[in-house]
Amino acid sequence: MELVVRQLDYWVTTYRRTWKGSVVSSFVMPLLFLSAMGIGLGGYVDDSSGPRVLAGVSYLAFIAPGLLATTAMQTAVLESSFAVFGKFKWNKVYSSMTATPLRVVDVLNGNLLYVGFRLATTCAVFLLVLAAFGVAGSVVGALGALLSAVLVGLACTTPVFGYSAWIKTDSSFAVLFRLGLIPMFLFSGAFFPVEQMPDTVEWLAYLTPVWHGVELCRDFTLGTASWWPGVGHVAYLLVWVVVGWLWARKTFERRLVGASS
C-alpha cells in the first residue's frame, strides 16, 4: 500500500493541470443532457404513453439516474483508454515507474485509485445538478446512487485497463467504442426500459455492467431500492471489477515485464 501512496504526488500534479476543465465539463454535460432530453424530449414522452410504461415516473426522473450511470461509464472509459495506452506507448510513463521500487501491480493500483477519484468527483457533481432539477432523490438515495455510479464506473474501468494494455495500436479503440461503449450507452436502460426491446437485445442488456448500474442508481434516486435485486446488481458489478482487474494485471505484467518464459 505504501508503494501505491508514493504515486499520489504524480497524480495530484497531473490533475492540477486539468481539473478546471474537467469540473466545468462535469457540470455542463448533465445540464445539457437533462435540459434537452429530460425536459425537451420528456415533454412529449410524459404526454403520450410514458406514464404508463414508466409506472407514473416522469421521463426526467427516469433518465436522470440512467445518465448518471452512463456518465460514470464514459468517464471510466475516457480515463482508461487513450490515457492508459499512451503511458505504455507514447510517453512510457509506466516504464519509468517500474524502474523504481514500484512494482507493476502498484502502478496499476495507483492509476485505478486515480480513476476512482475521478469517478467519485464527476458523479458527485452530476448528482448536484440532478438535485437542482429535483431528481436526485433523498440524501440517502443520492449517496446510494453515488456509490452505485462509482461501482459501475469501476466495473467498466478494470476491463478497459486490461484492453488498453493488450492492444498494439490505438486504432483498436474504435472497436471498443463502437461495439462496447456506444451500444451500452444506448441500450442499457438509461433512456427507455429494456423490456421495450426484442428479447435478445433485452438479454444482452442484462449481461452488460451498465444495465445493472442504471438499475441500481434508479432504485436509489426513485427511492425504490430493495435488498433483492440490489445485492444481485452489486455482486454482478463486483465480478466485472475483479475479473477485469485480474486481466489488467496480467496484460500490464506482459507489457511492462515481458513474457516470463
Partner: protein
C-alpha cells in the same frame, strides 16, 4: 548498511540468458561490474545489450543463469535493488504534461523520499545538468539533448550506487553528445559506477574503463578499449578509397602490404603497424586511390575483426 562489501562486484552474471518465446536475445553471458568502474556493452542493434540491461535493471526476469545485483537476487529482491539503481532508458520516458522540475520531484517520491528532499535534490540535479533556467518549462519545449540530460538527472534522484544508461547519446547531435559525456565523466569521477550500452565506438572509448563486445547475444571479447585494440587490431589503419566496384580487384594487389586487408563497399582497410609506409608503398605500385587516410585503430576495427561486420549500418 548495504549488503555489498568493498570490492565485491555490483553486478555478477553467470550464464545469463534471456529468451522471448523461440528467440534467444542473450545467450549465457558472464559479466562482472566492479565498484567505481565504467563498464560498457558495445555491439550493434539487436546484439542483446538492452535485454541484458533490462535484466540488470531488475525489471525483466532472468530466463536462465545466475544474476546478482548489489549482492541481491532480482527474482526476490526487485524493489530493494531498484531502490539503489538509477536507470536512464534508451527512449526518453519523461512526462510531457508536467514541468521539467516536477518530473524530478514526482520521481523522487517513488523512492520514498520526502517532499523536502525531492525539492532539494531536484534543484541540485537541475544545476548539475545545466537546466536550472528551464525548471518551470514544459518538457515538450526541450531539445533532444536537454531531454536526455533531464532523464539522466531523474535517474540520479535517489543517489544510486549503480547507474544504468541504455544508449545514452543515441539520436543526439555531436555537441549535445559531448555535453552528456562530460556530465557522465563527472559522475564517474565522483565514484558512481556506470554501466552503459552503446553502438558507438567513440562513446565506448571515451567513457568505458572496461567493456564487453556483444554480437548475436554472446560476448565476443572483453577488456579495456586499449587492450581490445592491442589484442584484436594493429596499431594503425590505412584507408584507401577507389572508384565504386574497384576495391575487390585492388585488394589482391596490396594484400602483401598489410597484416590484414578488409574490403568494405566504399573503401579498403589495410591493417598495419606502419600506416604511412603502407600508403607510400601503394603509391609506388602505381595505384592512385581517390582518397587516403592513415589513422589509429579503434574499437570499430576490433568489432569488424571479431564479427566481420561494422557496428553502425
Amino acid at each position: 548498511m548495504h549488503a555489498t562489501t568493498v570490492g565485491e562486484p555490483l553486478v555478477r552474471a553467470r550464464g545469463l540468458t534471456k529468451t522471448y518465446g523461440d528467440f534467444t536475445a542473450v545467450r549465457g553471458i558472464d559479466v562482472e561490474v566492479r565498484p567505481g568502474e565504467a563498464f560498457g556493452f558495445l555491439g550493434p542493434n539487436g546484439a542483446g545489450k538492452s535485454s541484458a540491461m533490462r535484466m540488470i535493471g531488475a525489471v525483466s526476469p532472468v530466463s536462465a543463469g545466475e544474476l546478482r545485483i548489489l549482492g541481491l537476487d532480482p527474482a526476490s529482491d526487485g524493489p530493494a535493488i531498484r531502490a539503489r539503481l538509477g536507470v536512464c532508458p534508451q527512449e526518453d520516458s519523461l512526462d510531457m504534461e508536467i514541468t521539467v522540475r516536477e518530473n524530478l520531484t514526482v520521481y523522487g517520491r517513488y523512492f520514498g523520499l520526502s517532499r523536502v528532499e525531492c525539492r532539494e535534490r531536484a534543484d541540485e540535479l537541475l544545476d548539475f545538468v545545466q537546466l536550472t533556467d528551464k525548471a518551470g518549462d514544459s518538457v515538450e519545449d526541450l531539445s533532444g539533448g536537454m531531454k536526455r540530460r533531464l532523464t539522466i538527472a531523474r535517474s540520479l534522484i535517489n543517489r544510486p550506487e549503480l547507474l544504468l544508461l541504455d544508449e545514452p547519446t543515441t539520436g543526439l547531435d555531436p555537441q549535445a553528445r559531448h555535453l552528456v559525456w562530460e556530465r557522465l565523466f563527472r559522475l564517474k569521477q565522483q565514484g558512481v559506477t556506470l554501466v552503459l550500452t552503446t553502438h558507438y565506438m567513440d562513446e565506448a572509448e571515451q567513457l568505458c574503463d572496461r567493456l564487453v563486445v556483444m554480437d548475436n547475444g554472446v560476448i565476443v571479447a572483453e577488456g579495456s578499449p586499449l587492450e581490445l585494440i592491442a589484442a584484436h587490431s594493429t596499431r594503425e589503419v590505412t584507408e584507401l578509397r577507389f572508384g565504386v566496384g574497384e576495391h575487390e580487384a585492388v585488394a589482391s594487389k596490396v594484400s602483401d602490404l598489410a597484416q590484414r586487408v578488409e574490403i568494405l563497399p566504399d573503401r579498403l582497410l589495410l591493417y598495419t603497424d606502419e600506416g604511412e609506409a603502407a600508403a607510400i608503398a601503394v603509391h609506388d605500385r602505381g595505384l592512385r586511390p581517390v582518397a587516403v587516410l592513415v589513422r589509429r585503430s579503434t574499437l570499430e576495427d576490433v568489432f569488424l575483426r571479431l564479427t566481420g561486420r561494422t557496428l553502425v549500418d
